[in-house]
C-alpha cells in the first residue's frame, strides 16, 4: 500500500470506510487522485470473525451513544459498525433497490420530503454497484421484470420457505430477494478469491469466506490498488481551516498520539451519527441549522411465530424471501410503504428482541427461549418521516476523547405507528394462516438516517444535491446522513450509488 506523509497535501481525506466512504475513495483513486482514508476502527480479517454474538460486538461502534425519545432505539446489534468496511462488516446484505415513488413522496402525498432527483438519475450508479460488488437475485423479479442479477440466489432457509407459504395463504406475491452475496467462487479484482456463500447464517457477525459483498473485499482493495492509503485505528476529531474558512486538514488520534493530515478536500463518511457529531463539535457547515436534524430510522416491526418443525433459524442466509406488495397498500392509513422480508436470526440477537419486547418471566420465559429452534420471523423495512423532535445533538457527557457523547432522540409519529400497526396485523395474519403459534410482535426501528440532508435550498439543507457543503466548498458528505427521506428500501445500495455519484461530482468540480 502506498503511504503519504502527514505534510503531503493529499487531494482528499475521507473519514470513514463504510458504504459511503469506500466507493468514493476507490473512484477518486482510480481517477488519479491522492486519497487517505481515516478509519476509527481496526482492520479485521474475514477468517478471524466469529459467530459468537458477544465477541462479534467488536464490529460495532463502541463509543457510547445516548438513546432518548419515546421510542429510544436499543442500539446494540443494531448499531452502526466500525473497522475497515464500516457497517457493511455486520450488515445483513439485503439489497433491494429504492422504489421510484419514494424519491417523490412529498409530491405524491404532501408529506415527507422529495429527493432532488429521481431513480433515473441514480439507476446507472446502482447498476454499477451491483455488478462490481456482486449481488444475487432471482431470474425474474416480480416487481421489475427487466432487472437481472449476476448470481442465482442462495438456498431458501426455513424462515424463507415459511414466509412463502404465508404469502401464498394471503395472496401476496413473493420472490427471492436481492442479496449482496455471491453464490459461486469468484476472483475479485484487486482482492483475490471470494468463495460462494456457505449458508452459515452469521452475516451479522461478519462473513468468514468473503461471500458477503462488503467494502473490505471490494471497494477498499480497489482503492488501495489505485494508490489510496487506508489508515485504520485513526479517530478523526478536529477539522482545521484557513482564514477563508476552507478545510486545510484533519487532526486524528492513533494509538493515543495526535496526528494531522493535510488535504485539499475533505469527505465526511462517518455515518449519520458521527458525521453530524464531527460537524457540531467543530461548529462547521451549519448555516442552515440543519446539522443533526431530520434524524430518521426505518420502521422495522418484526413478527415471530413458533412452528411444529425443527426450524433452526441460525442456518442459511437469514433474510431471503421478499415481498414488495406493501409498497403502497390499498388499505393504508399512512403514506409511503414497506418491504417484508423473512428472518432467520442468531440466538442471542433473537433472545434480545424477545426479552426486550415482552415481560414474561419464570418458566414461561425459559419456555419461550427454548423455542428458538422452532422459530421463524418476518420483518419489515418501512418509510419513516422526518420530524423536528428526532435528531442527533451533543449531550453534556464527555467520552474517553473528551468529546461530547451524541444524544439520539427518536419518537414515532402517527405515520410510523400506523405503518407498524398495519404490518403487525398483516404479518400476524400470515403466520396464523399457516399455523404458527405463540405469535409475537416486536416493535422496533432500525438504521440511522438523515442529519445532514441534501437538497437544493441552502436554507434548509446541509449539502447540495451532489453532496457538497453549501457553506464550505471543499467539504463533502457521503454517507447515510444526506438522505432527504428514509425510503423503504434497505439503504446500503443507495448509499454506495450516491457515493459513486458524489465522486463523479468531485472529479468534475
Amino acid at each position: 500500500m502506498k503511504t503519504f506523509a502527514e505534510t503531503d497535501i493529499v487531494d482528499a481525506v475521507v473519514i470513514g470506510s463504510g458504504a459511503g466512504g469506500a466507493p468514493l475513495a476507490a473512484e477518486l483513486a482510480r481517477n488519479g487522485k491522492t486519497v487517505v482514508v481515516l478509519e476509527a476502527g481496526p482492520a479485521f480479517t474475514a477468517m478471524g470473525h466469529t459467530p459468537d454474538e458477544i465477541a462479534a460486538r467488536e464490529l460495532y461502534w463502541l463509543h457510547e451513544r445516548l438513546s432518548a425519545g419515546t421510542n429510544p432505539q436499543a442500539f446494540g446489534g443494531n448499531n452502526s459498525g466500525t473497522g475497515l468496511g464500516g457497517s457493511l462488516l455486520h450488515y445483513g446484505a439485503f439489497m433491494p433497490r429504492m422504489d421510484a415513488r419514494d424519491f417523490h413522496l412529498h409530491t405524491e402525498t404532501g408529506k415527507g420530503v422529495d429527493w432532488p432527483f429521481g431513480l433515473e438519475e441514480l439507476l446507472p450508479y446502482i447498476e454499477r454497484v451491483e455488478s462490481f460488488i456482486g449481488v444475487s437475485g432471482p431470474a425474474s423479479y416480480p416487481w421489475d421484470p427487466n432487472r437481472r442479477y449476476a448470481y442465482p440466489p442462495p438456498p431458501a432457509n426455513s424462515a424463507a420457505l415459511k414466509m412463502r407459504e404465508g404469502c401464498d395463504a394471503l395472496g401476496l406475491r413473493h420472490a427471492d430477494g436481492p442479496a449482496a452475496l455471491i453464490t459461486r467462487d469468484v476472483e475479485q479484482p484487486h482482492f483475490g478469491t471470494r468463495h460462494g456463500c456457505a449458508n452459515c447464517g452469521a452475516c451479522h457477525q461478519g462473513c468468514r469466506n468473503g461471500a458477503k459483498s462488503g467494502a473490505d473485499n471490494t471497494w477498499l482493495p480497489m482503492a488501495v490498488a489505485h494508490g489510496a492509503e487506508l489508515r485504520p485505528g485513526c479517530f478523526a476529531h478536529t477539522i482545521e481551516r484557513d482564514s477563508a474558512g476552507r478545510v486545510t486538514g484533519v487532526v486524528y488520534r492513533q494509538n493515543g498520539v495526535e496526528h494531522r493530515q493535510k488535504c485539499a478536500t475533505l469527505v465526511l463518511a462517518a455515518g449519520a451519527v458521527e458525521t453530524p457529531r464531527l460537524l457540531l463539535t467543530n461548529d462547521l457547515a451549519n448555516s442552515s441549522g440543519q446539522v443533526g436534524q431530520n434524524y430518521m430510522t426505518h420502521v422495522s416491526t418484526q413478527v415471530w411465530g413458533e412452528f411444529d418443525e425443527d426450524i433452526r433459524p441460525n442456518r442459511g442466509y437469514p433474510s431471503l424471501t421478499i415481498t414488495e406488495d406493501m409498497m403502497r397498500p390499498k388499505d393504508a392509513d399512512f403514506v409511503g410503504g414497506y418491504l417484508i422480508q423473512s428472518l432467520g436470526m442468531m440466538p442471542a440477537t433473537w433472545g434480545q428482541n424477545l426479552a426486550r419486547s415482552t415481560t414474561t418471566r419464570g418458566p414461561a420465559f425459559a419456555r419461550a427461549l427454548a423455542g428458538y429452534n422452532r422459530s421463524a420471523g418476518m420483518g419489515i423495512n418501512g418509510e419513516c418521516l422526518p420530524r423536528p423532535e428526532n435528531r442527533v445533538t451533543l449531550s453534556n457527557e464527555k467520552d474517553a476523547f473528551g468529546l461530547p457523547k451524541p444524544l439520539i432522540e427518536h419518537s414515532y409519529g402517527p405515520n410510523e405507528w400506523a405503518m407498524h400497526n398495519h404490518a403487525a396485523s398483516l404479518l400476524s395474519r400470515m403466520w396464523e394462516a399457516i399455523g404458527a403459534k405463540d405469535i409475537r410482535v416486536i416493535d422496533r426501528a432500525a438504521h440511522m438516517i438523515g442529519t445532514c440532508r441534501m437538497g437544493t435550498d441552502a436554507g434548509s439543507n446541509v449539502v447540495n444535491p451532489e453532496g457538497r457543503s453549501f457553506d464550505i466548498d471543499n467539504l463533502w458528505i457521503s454517507d447515510h446522513s444526506i438522505f432527504p427521506s428514509a425510503a423503504a428500501a434497505n439503504p446500503a445500495l443507495a448509499i454506495m450509488a450516491l457515493s459513486l455519484r458524489t465522486a463523479d461530482a468531485m472529479l468534475k468540480a
Partner: protein, 215 residues
C-alpha cells in the same frame, strides 16, 4: 488441566473455529473474583432475582450451574455494547441503583430484605418493577420510569449470558456456533425445516425436545 465435567460436545466439533472454541470454553469457568462490579448487597439481590426471572432447571442437566450472577457482574465491568438509554446512568451505576432500589422497596413493603422474600413475593416485585410501578426518587436509586427502562437492560443482559453459553446451546440443540472450522469453512448444507445435520446438536433440554422428537 482436566476438562470440566459438563463440557458440552459442541466444543469438540470441527465445525467450530479455534477462536470461537476459546470464547465458548472461557464461559465454562466462573469469574474468579466476585463481585467485581456490584456491591455485595446489590450482588446478592441479583443472585436472588435471576432464578425468579429465568429459571434454567428445565433447560440444563441437573446440577449444572452457569454462574449467571457472577458472569453478569463481570460483564458489567467489561466491554459494553456502545449505547445506553439517556435517562439511565452508566450501566454499572444503573445496575447498582436498580438492585438497591429493589432491596429498599422489599424492606418498605415487607419489612425484610429482598433475598429473604419467598420466591413468589420476589416474582411479584419483579413484575411491579417491569411494569414501572415501583421505584424511589432519591440519590443512588431509580425512579419507576427509570427502573422500567432498566428492566429491558436486565432482560437483555440475562439473555445474552444464557444464549451465548455453550451448555445452553448444547441443551437447546442450537448449532449457531458451528458455522465452520478454520481449515474448512463448512457452513450448512441443509437449511430447510426438519433437516438437522449430523454434526448439529440435538436438544436435550426437557423444554426443547418437542421438535427433535419428531425426527
Amino acid at each position: 488441566m482436566s476438562p470440566p465435567p459438563d463440557r458440552p460436545e459442541i466444543l469438540d466439533s470441527d465445525h467450530l473455529s479455534a477462536r470461537t472454541r476459546d470464547i465458548l470454553t472461557s464461559r465454562l469457568s466462573a469469574p474468579e473474583t466476585h463481585p467485581r462490579t456490584l456491591s455485595l448487597q446489590a450482588y446478592a439481590v441479583l443472585d436472588a432475582l435471576l432464578p425468579v426471572l429465568l429459571p434454567l432447571d428445565e433447560i440444563l442437566p441437573p446440577g449444572t450451574d452457569i454462574n449467571m450472577t457472577a458472569r453478569i457482574d463481570a460483564a458489567l465491568s467489561g466491554p459494553r455494547d456502545g449505547w445506553r438509554f439517556a435517562d439511565l446512568p452508566p450501566d454499572a451505576k444503573a445496575w447498582e441503583a436498580a438492585l438497591l432500589t429493589l432491596d429498599d422497596v422489599a424492606a418498605e413493603q415487607h419489612g425484610i430484605r429482598f433475598i429473604h422474600l419467598a420466591p413468589d413475593l420476589r416474582g411479584t416485585l419483579l413484575d411491579a418493577l417491569m411494569a414501572g410501578q415501583i421505584g424511589l426518587d432519591r440519590d443512588g436509586r431509580l425512579t419507576p420510569p427509570q427502573i422500567k427502562r432498566w428492566a429491558g437492560d436486565l432482560r437483555g443482559e440475562v439473555v445474552d449470558c444464557v444464549m451465548s453459553d455453550p451448555r445452553i446451546q448444547q441443551a437447546l440443540g442450537i448449532s449457531s456456533s458451528l458455522t465452520g472450522g478454520d481449515t474448512v469453512f463448512q457452513g450448512f448444507t441443509e437449511v430447510g425445516p426438519d433437516s438437522r445435520e449430523d454434526f448439529e446438536p440435538k436438544a436435550t433440554a426437557p423444554l426443547a425436545q418437542m421438535a427433535d422428537s419428531r425426527e
